[in-house]
């Protein structure tokens, strides 16, 4: 795969499946991410939005190479023009690529949060940590507390600080904001914005899509393990008429400030995915064609969409 100019991370046709036993010794393969494309350039924030269980967090694990042993990854990932091999992932993660994990359970319960945030860096980046904690409004004694003594939002802010201390080029933030108040969430996003403006890149996986639209450069919408639309964030600020895929429009309309109207139905399960377009069973514009074959990725108005009817 040829590498485009100036991309930091490029992902092509990524598929992730899990080998599982269903009955006795019968092995089945469960495909959880299929044909996924994503590019991240230096200096930008790419927000990843989409339904719960659509493989957003698995993407983060796949990039860092921390999927469980029974996972099988296919496709191409390039970081700074070079193939991301398991060995390279191991060298880069924690240094060039940092993760803000989704769950506050990632904190070591037996370690004070101050030294956890410092990580393995020597000498300890004490001043930087103090500065970050202060910026996030964490009281000075926080560094001496254990994770169980923190509230959910405080633990989140510690996790974000820990990732920012690493000076990584690529930060993958997996739902960094739930539990934080609006001010704190904005502060965290402002810091991500600042990092991006310095030439680093951020992948922001989030359900707070209204905030993501304000800070991100581009938004990738996930559904059932693939990207259905990648569009400039400004299109999401403009509203459904600027969007291309019916699922993106449905997301926009379900926001509390935009009508709060959900579409019925559920995302299909990995393992029982429909044959054609993955969104077809819930799509108001569905035709025979959508049910029969998987729509290719098309470029429309400066965005990419995977839908026969996108316009």
């Amino acid at each position: 795969m040829e590498q485009k100019e100036g991309t930091l991370l490029e992902i092509h046709d990524l598929s992730v499946s899990f080998k599982m036993y269903d009955h006795g010794l019968n092995q089945t393969r469960l495909q959880v991410i299929s044909d996924l494309h994503l590019t991240v350039r230096p200096g930008e924030i790419v927000a990843v939005a989409g339904s719960s269980g659509s493989g957003k967090s698995l993407l983060a694990s796949a990039i860092l190479g921390i999927l469980p042993g029974n996972a099988e990854v296919k496709g191409h990932m390039h970081y700074k023009g070079q193939e991301l091999t398991p060995k390279r992932q191991q060298q880069l993660r924690g240094k060039e690529m940092a993760l803000v994990p989704q769950s506050v359970a990632f904190l070591d319960p037996l370690m004070k949060v101050g030294s956890q945030a410092d990580g393995h860096k020597r000498p300890r980046p004490k001043d930087r940590r103090k500065q970050l904690f202060r910026r996030f409004g964490l009281p000075d004694n926080t560094e001496r507390l254990y994770p169980f003594q923190l509230s959910g939002g405080m633990a989140r802010r510690v996790l974000v600080s820990a990732a920012l201390i690493t000076d990584a080029q690529l930060i993958i933030a997996d739902e960094p904001t739930p539990g934080m108040s609006l001010d704190q969430a904005l502060e965290a996003l402002k810091m991500f914005r600042q990092l991006a403006d310095e030439g680093k890149a951020v992948i922001l996986i989030t359900h707070d899509i209204d905030l993501a639209f304000e800070f991100a450069d581009r938004v990738a919408v996930f559904y059932a393990g693939t990207t259905v639309e990648t569009a400039p964030a400004s299109d999401f600020r403009d509203g459904p008429q600027a969007l291309r895929h019916p699922y993106s429009k449905a997301l926009w309309k379900a926001l509390p400030q935009n009508g709060f109207q959900p579409i019925p139905g559920f995302q299909p399960y990995a393992g029982s995915l429909p044959k054609g377009c993955l969104f077809a069973p819930r799509c108001p514009y569905r035709t025979e064609e959508c049910i029969e074959k998987t729509p290719p990725v098309r470029e429309i108005r400066g965005g990419e969409v995977r839908c026969c009817h996108g316009s």
Partner: protein
């Protein structure tokens, strides 16, 4: 008919700062109230106190004028933020739902639960699907008051809208009181008639 917190005092230990000092609030039956505050102000603590999971150091929690019963189904039910932590991982979901009475087709329809999910274990469902079970379990128990502690922050916005519409519809039908803890101002304004700011009534923990 209301759920009342009267002059609550609470702290997590003798050497810890007060979280609530002489804090009072009322939730009428049939009303939906949102509670908001920055993190660390005691939103979850308030939810745990009101639902009887924690005991106040001083003060009273009264449901319809009586203290919360020690036996039987509590008239105040709590729905937590993390459904995967609120469900017994070794029970099939049928079992989970049967805790609050018989499962009816109608109930499954209201909460958007598929028949096939009932025979699965919690780890085989996504967070949004599990949260539907937690919501159904709390609402079908016959509770008069339901405390929703950030029940939709981990969910995508479509699932969030689906779950809240189910909660509000059921609450309206049975005239329950709903107390919703949320950070999302837009969501609070959409679902609640009244928003309580905890910074006004909890003890100032930042000092």
């Amino acid at each position: 008919m209301a759920l009342e917190a009267r002059n609550l005092y609470f702290r997590y230990g003798r050497k810890q700062p007060w979280i609530f000092r002489d804090c009072s609030l009322t939730l009428e039956k049939g009303e939906c109230v949102a509670v908001s505050a920055p993190s660390g102000y005691g939103k979850t603590t308030l939810a745990l106190l009101l639902a009887g999971y924690l005991k106040p150091d001083k003060g009273k929690i009264l449901a319809d004028g009586r203290p919360l019963p020690m036996k039987g189904v509590c008239p105040v039910q709590l729905i937590c933020q993390h459904p995967e932590k609120a469900i017994n991982p070794r029970w099939k979901l049928k079992h989970v739902l049967e805790e609050s009475g018989n499962i009816t087709q109608e109930a499954l329809g209201i909460f958007g639960i598929e028949q096939a999910w009932l025979d699965r274990f919690p780890r085989e469902l996504s967070g949004g699907e599990l949260q539907r079970f937690c919501v159904a379990r709390a609402l079908l128990s016959g509770a008069d008051y339901v405390i929703c502690d950030e029940i939709s922050t981990m969910l995508d916005v479509i699932t969030q809208a689906q779950i809240w519409q189910a909660v509000l519809e059921e609450a309206r039908k049975r005239s329950m009181g709903i107390l919703a803890v949320t950070h999302n101002q837009h969501l609070a304004r959409r679902i609640a008639a009244r928003i309580i700011d905890l910074t006004d009534i909890s003890a100032d923990v930042s000092t």
